[in-house]
Symmetry: C3
Subunit: 219 residues, 3 copies
């Protein structure tokens, strides 16, 4: 991983009502345009996404439930000049499962204090801390003994304690995916990018990778 952060989104074919792919393809999609177009969908519309062979555009078609409105968008594909970003499989030292809304709040709260957040795990729980011009702050989450609702649990699986520093701005950005899933899994190992995963129902997941700040980095 030669970059600061990487996003990986997996949506398995079983998750679609109908799915056909004759050969593997890499498509360079302008996410800003794609997202604008997808937002035009009505809540009961059905959606078809299509790329024809040798085409340089992606076709997005929407149809209203009672078939009285049809929208077709054709967006230009982009040539990124990259085939694949390699992300090595990692056996993480520490995995924290927690409510995604809680992770989101902690990132927001730490960003008030400083640009980067130090994440420390111990057997008792996980500690997030930050320093800055105003002063300093820290938040400790205790592993939940037993919770009524599974999605409110904080569970820490730890082989080895870790203490890693990350730019909180990127973590906050990742947390925009918090609405996809009530729980997030944050995976940490020494000198290894953090991986945080939000499940997408039974269909797949989105994973964010963020390189830790090295000691020499200016905060």
């Amino acid at each position: 991983m030669d970059c600061l952060y990487v996003v990986s989104l997996v949506m398995r074919s079983e998750g679609f009502e109908s799915y056909r792919c004759d050969r593997n393809m890499s498509l360079g999609i302008n996410l800003v345009s794609m997202s604008k177009v997808l937002k035009t969908m009505g809540k009961d519309d059905s959606l078809t996404i299509r790329v024809n062979d040798d085409s340089d555009s992606i076709i997005i078609s929407m149809e209203s439930q009672n078939q009285d409105k049809f929208a077709d968008y054709e967006l230009r594909l982009m040539d990124f000049g990259i085939a694949h970003v390699g992300i090595p499989d990692t056996d993480y030292s520490c995995t924290i499962n927690m409510p995604s809304s809680e992770f989101s709040r902690i990132c927001r709260d730490m960003s008030i204090i400083g640009d980067s957040v130090l994440v420390c795990t111990t057997k008792e729980g996980v500690k997030f801390s930050a320093k800055g011009d105003l002063g300093q702050g820290c938040i400790r989450l205790v592993q939940t003994a037993n919770v009524e609702k599974e999605e409110e649990a904080v569970i820490i699986k730890m082989k080895e304690a870790v203490a890693l520093t990350f730019y909180v701005e990127y973590l906050s950005m990742f947390c925009k995916a918090a609405q996809l899933s009530p729980q997030v899994s944050v995976n940490l190992s020494k000198d290894t990018p953090l991986m945080c995963e939000f499940k997408i129902a039974e269909m797949g997941h989105v994973r964010f990778y963020l390189a830790p700040k090295s000691e020499g980095d200016k905060s």
Copy 2:
């Protein structure tokens, strides 16, 4: 019509609780000021608007229902130096009645793709299309066969098919009036300004006129 767009608002005297006008008058009102002042009204206040003979200001008085609060505003009238904008009566080739929220959405969706929208009518329905840097998009509305709610109907009355291009920015601006009425009527003829009308209850209407883009215009 020597301008790009014109707005005409008609509120008939029967619509007012009390209405008195001794002689016809043309008043130049600063709409921004007027709108700011009208927004100060409480929801159960009564409103009186008055212009005295030979006055250069309009007086707006509000009174709370239980008569414990009185507000009076006196706004300067403006001299536009114009008596009347002539809008010729037109027998349009094509009239589209549709839900105003739908028209509003289509304008918003087309504005994602391009600066201008091509409106084409056929016997089957109406097609809106746009092109731009991202790619292209089009939305087709089918005439509704039978709808339960009259206000959800899409009805196209057509003497002759039309294909006209308009700046979508102005159409979007007109759609701010969509909350006045559940239905909008969009009227089109070749080489003639579009007229779109929102009814104001039993009291009157607001009409927006927009000149089509000529072929030579840069999109």
Copy 3:
């Protein structure tokens, strides 16, 4: 009072669940930081604020109800170089009690018309008026004879009529406290700063003082 406006906030020790103060202290707190940190509190969290002897920071600790989340913030104190702003006790000529939402609205409405507002009290009621480029406006509030809800009453206690002009921008700023209390008390005397008070439940109050505009000030 050598400044344009002063804010004074009193929260009595009885209002706290636990309160300990060994000796009087003046603390210079950065309100922007303090407010950011306090906003991170969950709605059922408990809050402890602490300053140690000879410390140059204030410690804010929050604890979730079920004791699974702990947050500690340490904010630097500031040295204002001032011990106390003297505010002389005043026996005001005129006290207006009114719904704080109404006062807030009047300030907002007058700010549409001009930069400053003239407040005139008479036996019948109170009149707010403003002038500006658009024209002029005035709002009269009548003393309420009898109201069902005490918090909706407008009550004017007057020893002497007053007519004072204030910058409406500051009054609007004070009105941000309107959510603390359903009623505001506005106190006026000739050539004396206005004092407007919002009660904080049974615990204390916040008072805002604003010097009147002198005749010579540019509006």
